[in-house]
Amino acid sequence: MPERYLLPPDGTDLRSIDAYRKQGGYAAATKALREMTPESVVEVVKESGLRGRGGAGFTTGQKWSFMPKPGGPKPSYLACNADESEPGTFKDRQIMERNPHLFLEGLIIGGYAIHARAAYVYIRGEYITAFRVLSDAIREARGAGLLGKGLFGSDREFDVHLMRGAGAYICGEETGMIESAEGRKGQPRKRPPFPAVSGLWNCPTTVNNVETVSHVPAIITRGAAWFKTIGTPASTGNTLFGISGHVNRPGVYELPLGTPLREIIEVHAGGVRGGRALKAIIPGGVSMPVLSAAQADVAMDHDSLKQVGSLLGTGGIVVMDETACMVRAAIVIARFFRHETCGQCTQCREGTAWLYKLLRRIEAGEGTLDDLKTIDSVGGYMEGQTICALSDAAAWAATGFLRRFRSEFEAHVHERRCPLPESFEP
């Protein structure tokens, strides 16, 4: 098993500040704040090749370098996206609940690097346990002089505040999250301006995912060169793969980027449940196009997944066995996007409703071959047209299932019923 640095070793409780410090915790933040300039922190993170773990995979160091130099007219902020709500994704919760001080240490270093006045962590409302664990950790860190005025014995001030979402998926989109954090509906903003120019309260803001900042302490302590020895040249470091669905041992596994998908399914997750055959895999949360069993040898990194027509996304892997109806899977996902569209772009608001309706009709045995064409055409109109990527994701999911499993969709039309009697229900 490769070395972990995000999740605590099995049987170790790192939630208290004492336990975390005993393991060398807060050494990285001490080093960064006392021995390094903010600019050199940015350089190390840039050099490490760390890419965002929230789905888009943007280079973290580069994102940080977009922030203005200090002394400008407005304060800068670090906004942390802890809204984890991409279906199939349940990894950030593991960090927040099991290693809260690692996350705080990452925020402290990140906040220092971008000259932030404070960090605001936007936690999805349902994650009440993560909220409580982090509240305790923040209280401990303040008490120990690691947050607040004069943190780490410096003349700086930096604090971390928790905010709570209330069940809207769209608030995981960075500008939707900013709107929500300002006390509004989470409807994404047009870009430009990008958050680095005008984000939270119209101030320069960097938005980073929970896991992304949690990689930073290890990079500072052990160096960019060490980090690059893990993973692939373009996808460095470990990542948290969440695996769920029809496997024997679902869960979150910390593994190097580039680990073969088949190894994650067969070795780490214990293979497909009940000895059944593998049928389909969503590799990175439901926004990413589905793969067939024949593609399971792909390496789980950004470039390899692109080559097979999907994306790494959040690394949330959903496995489906031979009993699962692909139209039903597409229905569940289409229903989700129909529910979560914020409604401000017509293509998305109307398109998500149409995709769901068409898929329901096909599943009920009332679809036609023209309906399959309509799914493709509606999907086409939804891509690249809207303020944010929710519309694209909804289109990719539906058209992805159709393209990869067309014969099964056609069988629903020809047989006028679902040909998979043992399938799960949507």
Binding site: S85, H161, A166, G183
Partner: protein
């Protein structure tokens, strides 16, 4: 809504104090709106119009700006829900794990449909989207409490016992 007619404020003094303390964390008090609504719902069980008007005044915004938020976010309820509001995730990992059977089992046992409430006000039932607990499907959340995980479709009695 009877609370509208009576002149007494709906939000307690303690609650108002907590909300006021929240506003100090942000450059704009309005940013405390979502957490304020959670606090109100925690105390009242839902967020009636009168409470919306009162929180609008506390944060210096219009009541409609509060209502926009209350109705946009699925976790807030404008009308009373059951004492135990049962939310079953029906998204992909939970669906693969039998969420539909869990849902049907609860509907049968409680005699209500999704979105419904039992006549005695004890239970209400909702379908919800992914709760971020895909590795421990099926996942159920009651009110805003820690999750009930690994729910098995055949074990509705046991689930109801855990729901309480």
């Amino acid at each position: 809504m009877s609370a509208v007619a009576s002149g007494a404020p709906l939000l307690s003094a303690g609650l108002r104090e907590t909300i006021a303390a929240e506003t100090t964390k942000y450059p704009q008090p309005r940013s405390a709106l979502l957490i304020a609504l959670h606090l109100i719902q925690g105390e009242l069980g839902y967020v009636p119009l009168q409470a919306q008007r009162e929180v609008a005044e506390l944060l210096g915004i219009k009541p409609i700006e509060v209502r926009e938020v209350v109705t946009f976010y699925p976790m807030y309820h404008e009308h009373p829900v059951g004492r135990r509001n049962i939310q079953v995730c029906v998204n992909i990992a939970c669906a693969l794990g039998g969420a539909r059977q869990v849902m049907r089992g609860l509907e049968d046992r409680l005699g209500i449909a999704p979105g419904g409430r039992t006549p005695d006000g004890q239970y209400s039932l909702e379908e919800v989207q992914c709760l971020g607990s895909c590795g421990t499907a099926v996942c159920v959340q009651v009110n805003n409490e820690p999750y009930i995980e690994n729910v098995k479709p055949g074990a509705i009695d046991e689930l109801l016992k855990r729901i309480g």
